[in-house]
């Protein structure tokens, strides 16, 4: 896997760093005491989480009736949040796997935290299908486990079953992928750590990694394989999520365009979330040299591209509905745009299609503050996309007699807040205790776009001396303790 870097290519990492600098700078935040800012953020996130835990506890003990659902609207906030978080997750996999396969070396700066984000997002997502059940304590019945009922297996025709398998697989593979990528850096941190419990812990989890090249050699292959598996996986996962709707009967859900539409949307929202987090992290963690304007610029382009795909999907959906001979389909889409939840549709189109068009301007893409604000809008917009799709179709379907409006209760709002709490709590802990940047990979790309060797050879004399000294001792047949 040799690559030739044209010398004129601009560096991926700013500020002319040596390998040691990289190690030092990335590991520094882990070894420093946490800053007041971190504590502030952490406590905020933690209290949100606590709120969510309380809400879920109340809901599970009292009944799902504490949500605003009704006989017609069986899903709303729960599945909206589920799809939203899964979507967020996908960007991580995109960056770590797909961009890897496409040899986008700039990914190295962000892939670690993007993958972390994936895992936390999928964790949040995974909670909702469980707590949205009427009897969450029986969620394991979704698994084909031998039981006393026959054994009665599960229904492999149901999109929810597919979903269950998809999410589980996705979570496990992402976790493994992330951990494998983390191995060499854990070793690096371990070797810097002072003796003590922290070091022992790191020694345990870094599995005795010592930088052996034979290992590196297999590691490269493994990484490629995982990337190769994760790429179709991420596509399949969100396709399957979309099939929860696409394989149903409901007008507005029963739509063949959903799989590509949802995958694009997922990457779109995920990228936005990556930007939201990265732009804060690089400031707080002083990583400006690693996460450079160039990265933001590149991600901005991806966001723009996916935004256009999503916009196209919206258009096609509306177009084919209005031209379809199916009156229920037609009504559903008119209702989606102009019905009781029309405002939601407006938010979704504005945030997901109109605003991102600003990214055509290079000046906008490179204005970090602006991009950050936009990324927030996109997050909101994508949440509403799912909410509008799910709720409008349920609120008004075939029989007008059963039309019923939906409004969330305090418990649902608290649960949503709680999921954000969980996400940020995990992410802040990650920033605090694990290297946010893939050290080993950064070192690999350190010299891209720089003339000559990264590290000038020390002056020959001293080199000679030490070498000779070494040899002389070797002659003396004594090994040297380093």
């Amino acid at each position: 896997m040799t690559e030739v870097y044209p010398p004129l290519r601009q560096p991926l990492v700013a500020g002319d760093k040596s390998l040691a600098d990289v190690t030092q700078e990335v590991c520094a935040p882990l070894e420093r005491r946490s800053t007041a800012l971190w504590w502030l953020a952490f406590l905020a996130a933690l209290s949100l989480l606590a709120l969510g835990v309380a809400a879920v506890y109340y809901q599970v003990t009292t009944g799902i009736g504490t949500w605003g659902l009704n006989r017609s609207v069986g899903w709303a906030f729960d599945i909206t949040n589920f799809v939203f978080w899964i979507g967020i997750g996908h960007a991580g996999t995109l960056i770590s796997a797909i961009l890897f396969l496409f040899r986008q070396r700039w990914r190295t700066a962000v892939n670690r935290s993007a993958e972390a984000m994936t895992i936390f997002a999928v964790t949040c997502a995974g909670l909702f299908p469980v707590i949205h059940m009427g009897r969450p304590w029986l969620f394991y019945w979704m698994l084909p486990i031998p039981n006393t009922r026959g054994p009665l297996w599960i229904n492999f025709d149901s999109a929810l079953t597919w979903d269950f398998f998809a999410i589980t697989t996705y979570f496990l593979i992402s976790l493994t992928f992330w951990y494998v990528g983390l191995l060499p850096d854990l070793a690096t941190v371990r070797d810097r750590a002072k003796p003590g419990w922290r070091r022992r812990l790191l020694a345990f989890v870094s599995l005795g990694w010592n930088g052996s090249y034979r290992t590196w050699h297999r590691y490269e292959t493994l990484y490629l394989l995982l990337a190769g598996l994760a790429t179709p996986l991420v596509v399949s996962v969100h396709s399957i999520v979309s099939m929860d709707f696409a394989t149903s009967m409901l007008p507005g859900w029963h739509t063949t365009i959903f799989p590509p539409y949802f995958v694009a949307g997922a990457i779109f929202s995920g990228m936005a979330m990556v930007l939201t987090l990265m732009l804060i992290a690089r400031k707080v963690m002083h990583l400006q040299d690693y996460i450079t304007v160039r990265h933001v610029d590149a991600m901005g382009k991806i966001v723009l591209a996916t935004s256009c795909m999503v916009g196209l999907a919206y258009a096609i959906e509306m177009f084919s509905a209005l031209l379809s001979p199916n009156p229920y389909e037609q009504f559903t889409f008119l209702n989606r745009a102009q019905g009781p939840l029309g405002w939601g549709y407006a938010i979704m189109v504005t945030c997901n299609v109109l605003l991102p068009q600003l990214l055509w301007l290079r000046r906008f893409r490179t204005n970090l503050a602006a991009v950050w604000v936009l990324s927030i809008f996109i997050n909101v917009g994508m949440w509403f996309e799912r909410f509008v799709i799910i709720t409008t179709s349920l609120e008004r379907d075939f029989l007008p007699s059963s039309w019923a409006d939906y409004a969330p209760t305090s418990i649902e709002l608290a649960t949503l807040a709680g999921s954000f709490g969980l996400f940020f709590t995990c992410f802040l802990l990650f920033c605090r205790f694990l290297p946010m940047i893939a050290i080993a990979e950064i070192k690999g790309v350190l010299r891209i776009g720089r003339e000559g060797p990264a590290v000038e050879p020390r002056d020959p004399a001293s080199a000679e001396a030490s070498a000779l000294a070494g040899v002389s001792r070797l002659d003396g047949n004594q090994g040297v303790k380093p």
Partner: protein
């Protein structure tokens, strides 16, 4: 304080019940359903021969929920009545039983029903109470009048014992003017008075709607609440069979001021302000007289359009004379006289109206009542016995009456619950629920229904006749009193049986006896034309202001049902509101005042006012404010705590701590009768809000204008066809173009394939099926707030769709239940196989496998699946005795829905197998089908080509709702038939 006493009264009664029930195995079973300690159950020492454990037995009896006297079958499990059903052989009800009748079962297991006699709120023994009352009567002799106040008494035995008691009081008690006064909460006094004028005897004719080809109803909601709805509904159905060539169907014109259930079925409906009603009838009389060739002159201030209508109607009626019927619900005697005149001219007496075998369902006399009230005010009454009625609630100026009652030295009240009146009585003598005691009822002269106890008494209650006998100094058990009366007075009225025992046994078995009318009743004289013409001359009151119309709801006939959670939660078939009464305003009237659903409005009349939430009601006259009676009764206090308690839950009762408000306070006395319509002085918006608990929030099949796809404004869910078009159409099976399937159907139904067909033309929306389903399938009551959140649990609902606008609105009722689709969308999406298809074509829900993802409900195009959002209340141990042991009580977090009464199917199949023969068509009936008064629901085996349901599938009117989805529903519908003069245009829904 007496409240708490009765509340605690539930406990002991339960223990007692268990003791008694032990002898029929019920102990163990009941112990099971209410987690009572085992030792409370007493094993049967000797096996009663007629009761087999775990097998239901049926007893014929007569309903007592209202005075209609419908025959019913009591389904009893191990000595525990669990369901009331119509008695198919009964000459009046013919197998139907209304919602209120079926729901009365809960009254039996009512925790707050009075269990002990009490004096001034203190529990007491019968001996002491009796002695006390006798002493008081002795002291009071000669100190004033004695009155027995009752509702209409249809029971000959009670009537006899009242007479006996009064006779005793007159002779031995020195109460020279001891009298019996009867009144009706929903009075029809005017009809009887009118017949007194025109026919010389105070009778209520028996109406034979089945014999009528043209029916004209004037403010008479005979399919809903008027006199005898079940009987009338069945007869009405018989009158429109749609068989023969051309298809036969009676023509029904309804003239009314508010949209009633009856109006919703009318072929032609005219909206008239109440005060115009008399003028319209007068005009009709004139027109009919002209047709009859005996013209008479009468004042006439009608709008040309109405006049034209009257003439057209008169012609139609005349053409069908002898086979026509004019019904009038007015409480204005002259108006009724005019109505009698019309029927007389149309030669309907003796044909469609029977006054020789009259109805006894209403006997109350408002005149007597007025006199009594006057005497009470004047303090002329020394002793007042109130039997099973609640005047303080039912009558206007309840406070006034209450004050008067406090002055009466002796007030004895025989009641079932501690209602407004019982609270004022010095002595409260609870009588048993009618399922606990012997009794009879002659609702229509010549048809005497019999009641038998189906369960040991749950409390120390005593039948009214026993009490009367005791106070008359000749105590005797009710059973003996009843038999004596039958022996002496009923047996002679028939010739079939000479031997009393045989007659008695047959009557007990049948639940009724058909005999000759009472010989010593005054026969009606010839029709008195002069009186009628006098009435015609009398000018009609011309009032152009707002009118308050007080009506009674199908689900809440009168205040005596206010305790009943099933009825409280039953959506009104027209307004679809539960748990409340409200002020109905026409859309225009509401718009003028800037009011919408749930805005609280203040309705002021001369001597009273009410603040009620508004319900905008199409099809109502613009100058009418309609308010339902029967709400705001003190017994609805109990519902304060109903419904799942949680953070955002709101109470079921209003600010007054009751469900709804008592509109009876606004009734008016006028011309010696109670009036249900009166002028509104002021109608003002209060600005307060009281969101109504609606089960249907979107009322039409027409989509909102700005959302409707061009050419698709109306959804063809309810389909209509004009009568003449039906005649023209060849009776070929309708071929719905079936889309090709993607895969072969490799799921045959070898034995049975259950299916249902619902005749939308027959269905009146009376909602009997809804309660039947609730009772049969242990469907929980969820309370007002949950309904407001669209979480009602009814497995079977009735969708009501308006078409057209304003007063000229048309209504269609569509019972909607699980359609048991062949390719059910709900089944495919369930991840855990909790809903699957049986090889009998049933869509089965496996409660204990369900994890509650609700995906199935989302994917159900008919939205008939119901989810257990909470663990719904089953704390009321006593009420749990009403649960059907054949049906699982669903736990929290699982989905449920209509099962086609699978438990009944299984039972029927087992019975058939035991007999070693095949299941015959009609042998198994679903609960909804069983009690439908209109026989609109047909259920059966589609594999059996000869079955009624299979034949109906080939009816030209047959169609499937949402057939285009190609999911193969097992439930089909028969199109509504519109019998309009401008017929054929009735393709609105097509």
């Amino acid at each position: 304080m007496s409240e708490t006493k009765t509340a605690t009264g539930g406990g002991p009664s339960r223990r007692e019940f268990l003791k008694a029930a032990g002898f029929t195995f019920a102990g163990a079973l009941v112990g099971g359903c209410q987690r009572a300690p085992e030792q409370e159950a007493i094993p049967p020492l000797s096996q009663p021969e007629d009761i087999v454990a775990g097998r239901p037995s049926y007893y014929a009896s007569t309903c007592d929920a209202c005075r209609a006297g419908c025959g019913m079958l009591v389904k009893s499990y191990d000595g525990r009545p669990i369901k009331l059903e119509g008695n198919p052989e009964h000459p009046l009800s013919r197998g139907g039983l209304c919602a209120a009748g079926q729901a009365a079962l809960l009254g039996l297991y009512d925790r707050l029903r009075l269990q002990h006699p009490s004096r001034e709120g203190q529990e007491n023994s019968w001996e002491e109470i009796d002695r006390d009352i006798r002493d008081r009567l002795h002291d009071l002799r000669g100190r004033g009048g004695l009155r027995v106040l009752t509702g209409t008494v249809t029971s000959p035995t009670i009537q006899a014992s009242v007479t006996r008691f009064l006779k005793h009081m007159r002779e031995n008690g020195d109460f020279a003017d001891a009298k019996h006064v009867a009144y009706d909460p929903l009075s029809c006094s005017a009809i009887l008075d009118a017949h007194e004028r025109t026919g010389g005897s105070r009778v209520l004719p028996r109406y034979h709607l089945d014999r009528a080809e043209v029916i004209a109803g004037f403010d008479a909601d005979f399919l809903g609440t008027w006199l005898s709805p079940v009987e009338f509904t069945h007869a009405y159905r018989v009158g429109r069979p749609l068989t023969g060539d051309p298809p036969r169907s009676s023509y029904h014109v309804q003239v009314e001021s508010r949209l009633s259930l009856t109006g919703s079925k009318a072929d032609e409906r005219v909206c008239v302000a109440p005060e115009e009603m008399r003028a319209v009838l007068a005009r009709l009389a004139v027109a009919v007289a002209r047709q009859a060739g005996a013209p008479l002159d009468a004042a006439d201030e009608l709008s040309p359009s109405l006049a034209g209508f009257c003439d057209r109607l008169a012609l139609r009626l005349w053409q069908a004379r002898g086979h026509s019927l004019v019904l009038c619900g007015s409480q204005d005697v002259p108006t009724q006289v005019v109505c009698n005149f019309i029927n007389h001219r149309l030669e309907n007496y003796g044909a469609t109206l029977d006054i020789d075998r009259p109805s006894l369902q209403r006997q109350g006399s408002d005149r007597d009542l007025a006199t009594l009230l006057h005497d009470l005010d004047a303090g002329k009454i020394a002793a007042l016995f109130i039997l099973d009625s609640n005047p303080v609630y039912d009558l206007p100026d309840g406070e006034g009456l209450a004050r008067a009652l406090r002055q009466v030295p002796l007030v004895v009240c025989c009641a079932e619950r501690l209602d407004e009146t019982a609270r004022l009585a010095r002595y409260v003598c609870p009588h048993p629920h009618y399922l606990e005691s012997w009794g009879d009822a002659e609702a229509v002269s010549g048809v005497i229904g019999l009641r038998q106890p189906t369960i040991p008494r749950l409390g120390e209650t005593r039948p009214v006749i026993e009490s009367l006998a005791a106070w008359a100094g000749a105590p005797k058990p009710a059973y003996d009193l009843l038999r004596e009366h039958w022996k002496d007075h009923v047996l002679p009225r028939q010739a079939r049986e000479r031997d009393f025992e045989a007659f008695w046994d047959r009557s007990v078995h049948d639940g009724y006896a058909e005999v000759d009318p009472d010989p010593d009743r005054v026969r009606p004289k010839d029709f008195n034309l002069a009186k009628a013409q006098a009435a015609l001359q009398a000018p009609a009151a011309a009032d152009r202001g707002q009118t308050l119309v007080l009506y009674s709801k199908v689900g809440m006939p009168d205040g005596s049902h206010a305790y009943n959670p099933w009825l409280q939660e039953l959506p009104d078939p027209i307004s679809k509101v539960t748990w409340d009464n409200y002020a109905c305003l026409s859309p225009d009237a509401a718009a003028q005042l800037g009011l919408g659903d749930g805005d609280v409005v203040r309705v002021e009349v001369r001597d009273g006012a009410l603040e009620l939430p508004v319900r905008v009601q199409p099809g109502q006259h613009d100058r009418v404010v309609a308010v339902a009676l029967g709400y705001g009764s003190i017994v609805s206090e109990r519902f304060a705590g109903i419904g799942p308690p949680w953070l955002e839950a709101r109470p079921t009762v209003g600010e007054n701590g009751l469900v709804g408000q008592n509109a009876a306070a606004l009734l008016a006395w006028e011309g010696g009768t109670l009036r249900y319509a009166r002028a509104v002085e002021k109608l003002t918006k209060t600005g307060k809000k009281h969101p109504l608990a609606l089960t249907q929030t979107y009322d039409t099949l027409t989509l909102p204008a700005h959302l409707a796809p061009p050419g698709q404004e109306r959804r063809p869910l309810v389909q209509e066809i004009g009568l003449s078009r039906l005649a023209r159409k060849p009776a070929a099976p309708p071929h719905e173009d079936k889309p090709a399937d993607l895969w072969p159907n490799d799921h045959p139904c070898p034995e049975h394939r259950w299916g249902m067909v619902i005749d939308l033309n027959a269905c009146t929306g009376c909602s009997a099926c809804v309660i039947a389903c609730q009772a049969e399938n242990n469907v929980p009551v969820v309370g007002r707030d949950e309904v407001r959140r669209h979480r009602e649990m009814h497995w079977l609902r009735i969708d009501r769709y308006y078409s057209g606008a304003g007063a000229a609105v048309e209504v269609a009722h569509q019972p909607m239940l699980c359609q048991h689709c062949e390719r059910a969308p709900c089944e495919t999406v369930c991840p855990v196989l909790a809903t699957v298809h049986s090889d009998e074509g049933l869509n089965e829900q496996v409660y204990n496998r369900c994890v509650g993802t609700r995906y199935c409900a989302n994917n159900c195009p008919y939205k008939v699946r119901r989810f257990n959002w909470f663990a719904y209340a089953h704390e009321d141990k006593l009420q749990n005795l009403a649960l059907n042991p054949d049906v699982t009580v669903r736990s929290r977090g699982v989905m449920e829905k209509c099962t086609f009464c699978v438990q009944r199917l299984q039972e029927a199949k087992i019975e058939a197998r035991l007999r070693g023969e095949h299941l015959h068509d009609g042998e198994v009936q679903t609960a909804c089908q069983q009690s439908c008064p209109a026989r609109a629901i047909v259920f059966g085996d589609l594999n059996d080509r000869a079955s009624q349901v299979a034949r109906l599938r080939d009816d030209p009117r047959h169609y499937h709702t949402l057939a285009e989805l190609n999911i193969g529903p097992a439930v089909g519908y028969l199109k509504v038939v519109r019998n309009r003069p401008d017929d054929g245009e009735g393709q609105r829904h097509d």
